[in-house]
């Protein structure tokens, strides 16, 4: 399909959508590298939360709003909360 396949209030020209998707993919790749390269656990959890938001925006650009909602609630809120609780447990004895 070239050009606009359908005229709705939500579609944009294909070139613009391509540029958006490429930018978001590059940001996601950079975010994943940053998550792995950070070694301090608490900072890594914050970076994981940012990575979750980036992924959610990427899924939105891939026309998948349901997966966006899932990734936002799970990856940006619940998973960092569970991780921080675990870190609080293991850090208590390290001090």
């Amino acid at each position: 399909m070239n050009g606009l396949a359908v005229q709705t209030p939500y579609t944009v020209p294909v070139g613009m959508m391509d540029a958006l998707q490429i930018t978001l993919l590059v940001l996601v790749a950079a975010g994943a590298t940053a998550v792995v390269l950070i070694r301090a656990p608490v900072r890594q959890v914050l970076m994981l939360s940012t990575y979750g938001v980036l992924l959610a925006v990427l899924f939105l650009a891939f026309q998948a709003p349901d997966v966006t909602l899932s990734e936002l609630t799970v990856g940006a809120v619940l998973l960092p909360a569970v991780l921080l609780l675990t870190l609080a447990k293991v850090r208590k004895k390290e001090q």
Binding site: P65, D66, T68, L69, S70, T73, V74, V77, L78, A81, V82, L85, T86, A88, K89, K92, K93, Q95
Partner: protein, 257 residues
Amino acid sequence: MTPRQRRWIFLVAGAGLVAFYLWGLLGLPGFGRYPGPYGPAILRVVVAQTNATGVVSAINFDYRGFDTVGEEFILFVAAAGVATVLRRLRGERDRPAVDEAADRDVPDTSSAVRMVALLSVGPVVLAGWWLASHAQTNPSGGFQGGVMLATAFVLIYLSGEFLVFKRFSPVDLTDVVEAVGAAGFAAIGVSAVAMGLPYLKNYLPLGQVPGAVSSSGTIALISFFVGIEVAAAFILIVGELLDQTLLIRRYSSGRGG
């Protein structure tokens, strides 16, 4: 084997793995050129067959409902596993916290955090409930709504004491709610079998208007059960981890600081 050797062996083997992976991925029909027959076949018939305008939820709870039953039970077992692994073993006891946390400076929760958390609990519960009950209309569904409801309980913990969280979600009640959710989903499927239809067939009346809340038969009902099950599972998990860390902290803030 030293860590350096391990790293070099991984780099070699990992390069080989990624090369094969890329070779396989490049054989796909290219990004944006999805050819496959399954997607367009479903899109052609879904609104007429189920009166649901949210196609993804219709697939999750009707066309591929059996897969979703399996996934929900994975969630159920994972929550039970966390509760089992973190149980109090014979020989452990709650150590008094004075010796452990006395040298750590634990600041009180600031009033700004408490106020914001308290004010957002209501809207978050409302939004989560709306998401869990509108699966057939919008991008919503039981899974997202359930996770949002669990997040509301985490906000309750943030805005108050640990005891308030425990009072709002006692373990027995959360256990029962989770079991009701999981069993409700399976029971809907079994009730279809009891009527002589295949397991999980959508047999409730489909409603008049596509996408209305009361349309699409069992999809809305299943989404509701999934929502409460997911919410209860995550509240249990967070509650278990909080038990581990903060029963002690509560004592220390009263005695030491």
